[in-house]
């Protein structure tokens, strides 16, 4: 297991290096820094100001190769700063990126963690229920509702929730955020509710398929032949076995808990990492974007390794070698 983890870590490091080189090509070589400067300073900025901006942001140095000082290149600067988590300042407004990320992670987790903690058990329970009534009208109705629910765009859930629960019923504020924990709850309730609802259709349908596949297996027949009832068969035999494919699917969504939901945050005005990313895209803020992509890749690799370890708990047949 130790050897396996070490090998995964080495591969992870190689992957990260690849991501960093790609980011360098995309945001430093391919992008035109003059355009970024003009976006930041305004279309009518004088050429001297633009030249100064390029110097301040290090865009004036040689990209890859500097014969006089081999380490004074944009590539070396990019790699060394990313690896030291020294993210520098935003291209758009010169604000330090690290401080902005620290302020955004709270609101983001405020949406995604409740969303995950409510949405996953709820869709598992609903799927278990629908699978329990397989081949009945409850099951067929459940599938139809799921397909309808997943066919509707998330934008409709967001706008519908804001209109119905925010504007008409006035249960929640339509959008906005307050850093005070007591007040934040009022603002977070609606995006969490909408997020859970929007994800339910596809999750329930997927988990139902997983459960139904397990229900057809031989060990389920054995459990029934022992005299186990339907509920016991589902909870004690089908559910633990279904956790293996469920884990594979769920682990893919975990990095997004940290990077935040772009749509939910921007529509509900929540100043989280999702909003920061959307703003960075709109402002051609390549310095911030490159950090977001880099952190996302790091998270993805870390979660993958953690998932492999989690498999050994869920499935005794899995051994990491």
């Amino acid at each position: 297991m130790i050897a396996y983890l070490l090998r995964r870590l080495v591969w992870g490091a190689v992957t990260i290096l690849g991501v960093l080189l790609f980011l360098f090509w995309l945001f430093v070589l391919y992008a035109q820094p003059e355009d970024v400067a003009r976006r930041a300073l305004g279309e009518k900025a004088p050429p001297e100001a633009i030249a100064q901006w390029l110097v301040n942001h290090g865009y004036d140095r040689p990209a890859v190769w500097n014969p006089e000082a081999p380490l004074d290149t944009r590539l070396f600067d990019h790699l060394s700063r990313m690896l030291r988590f020294d993210f520098g300042a935003s291209d758009a407004d010169d604000a330090p990126i690290a401080a902005r990320l620290r302020s955004g992670i709270g609101p983001t987790l405020g949406v995604t963690l409740p969303l995950f903690a409510i949405g996953l058990p709820l869709s598992l329970a609903l799927a278990l229920g629908v699978a329990f009534f397989r081949d009945t009208y409850i099951d067929r109705l459940g599938v139809v509702v799921c397909v309808l629910a997943m066919s509707v765009s998330i934008l409709l859930y967001i706008l519908g929730g804001q209109f119905l629960l925010g504007k008409l019923l006035r249960w929640f504020p339509i959008s906005g955020f307050d850093p005070d924990p007591g007040l934040a709850l009022r603002f977070l309730a609606l995006p969490v509710f909408v997020g859970v609802l929007a994800g339910l259709g596809s999750d329930v349908r997927f988990f139902r398929t997983v459960f139904l596949e397990e229900t057809g297996r031989d060990y389920v027949r054995t459990a029934r032949a022992k005299g186990a009832g339907d509920a016991r068969v589902m909870l004690r035999h089908v559910l633990p076995n279904a956790m293996i494919p469920v884990l594979s699917a769920v682990s893919l969504t975990i990095p997004f808990l940290f990077t935040g939901s772009l749509l939910l945050e921007s529509f509900f005005g929540i100043p989280g990492l999702g909003s920061i990313t959307v703003e960075a895209i709109q402002n051609n803020d390549f310095a911030t974007l490159r950090v977001m992509v880099y952190l996302g890749a790091l998270l993805f690799i870390a979660v993958q390794v953690a998932t492999d370890v989690a498999y050994t708990w869920v499935d005794p047949r899995v051994r990491l070698e």
Partner: protein, 324 residues
């Protein structure tokens, strides 16, 4: 009547290709198993023998269902029982073991826990008592190092050991009838012999009756008191082992015996039954074996033969027995 299990006119159907039609895969099957007796139900793949077994316990997988007939255990009807009453019979009075020990055990649960579950489902016992009983069962079915094996997962055991675990699960509720559906088919030949010897010894020790489902006449010879031969959903011959295997009267049974490798002389070409078992939706009218039968007469293709009583508790379903 001292029959432990009496199956009469059992019909189990699956949906046909055309909508709203149902095809019988088990067709008016009668079976009797006396207390302590071992009955072998023999037939080729697809003849309906496994579905007969699953029908007895109401475990037919959807969309199949038991359509007609009666299944009585010690005189009490099982068909139409509510689910809770059926659960008290499954595992406790009728237990079942399956063909594939590799997939029939829950892969993510320790085998000891799976045996203990079978005990706890039918009796109020403490965890320690259930564990002690599971340990005793592992010893009884000849699992070496039983204490450690209780904690093993199925994938850590060999096929033979897994089938022994399955047998101890089946015996956990101290059943009166053990249905064994091809219990040795997936195992190595040497392990097959061990498992059969174990079943025979357990039957002698505990007095459990056995309904053994198999396609292997060698297995029948090892264990069965009586034999029922199934073909295309019907029981075509039934009787004591000595008469069915020694002096078979139905042409299908005769063909099966002739095609056994162990009965052929060296250098001799092995006999075979021409053709293949027809699918359930393509059963011919009349005798279902007629298209493959060497002695088929005109009447065989038109009218299905009745069961003709033969000597000593035996019967066969063949026109040739009535109008030679």
């Amino acid at each position: 009547m001292s029959d432990l299990l009496a199956v009469e006119g059992l019909v189990t159907t699956f949906p046909g290709r055309a909508p709203e039609t149902r095809i019988p895969v088990v067709d008016r099957v009668d079976l009797r198993v006396a207390r302590g007796e071992a009955l072998a139900l023999v037939g080729e793949s697809g003849c309906g023998k496994s579905m007969t077994a699953l029908s007895i316990l109401s475990l037919v997988p959807k969309p199949g269902r038991v359509e007609a007939g009666s299944v009585r255990l010690a005189g009490a009807e099982l068909r139409g029982l509510p689910a809770t009453a059926l659960r008290r019979i499954r595992g406790a009075r009728i237990a079942m073991i399956f063909q594939e020990p590799a997939t029939s055990l829950n892969p993510v649960q320790r085998v000891g826990a799976q045996v203990m579950e079978a005990i706890a489902l039918h009796e109020r016992v403490s965890g320690a008592e259930a564990r002690r009983r599971a340990l005793a069962l592992f010893e009884a079915v000849g699992i070496p190092d039983p204490e450690a094996r209780l904690r093993a997962y199925p994938h850590q055991l060999s096929g033979g050991l897994k089938q022994r675990v399955m047998i101890s699960i089946a015996l956990a509720g101290r059943p009166e009838l053990l249905i064994a559906d091809e219990p040795t088919t997936a195992l190595d030949v040497t392990v097959q012999a061990q498992i059969l010897a174990l079943l025979r010894a357990l039957a002698a020790d505990t007095g459990v009756a056995i309904l053994l489902i198999t396609h292997d006449l060698g297995v029948v010879n090892e264990i069965a008191d009586r034999v029922a031969v199934m073909y295309a959903g019907r029981v075509v011959e039934e009787g004591p082992r000595a008469s069915v295997l020694g002096a078979p009267r139905h042409p299908y049974t005769q063909g099966l015996l002739r095609s056994m490798p162990s009965r052929a002389r060296p250098g001799e070409r092995l006999a075979e039954i021409p053709g293949a078992v027809p699918a359930a939706d393509a059963w011919p009218p009349g005798c279902r074996f007629a298209p493959r039968c060497a002695i088929a007469m005109d009447v065989c293709r038109v009218r299905e033969p009745e069961a003709t009583p033969l000597a000593a508790d035996a019967a066969a379903r063949c026109h040739a027995l009535v109008t030679p």
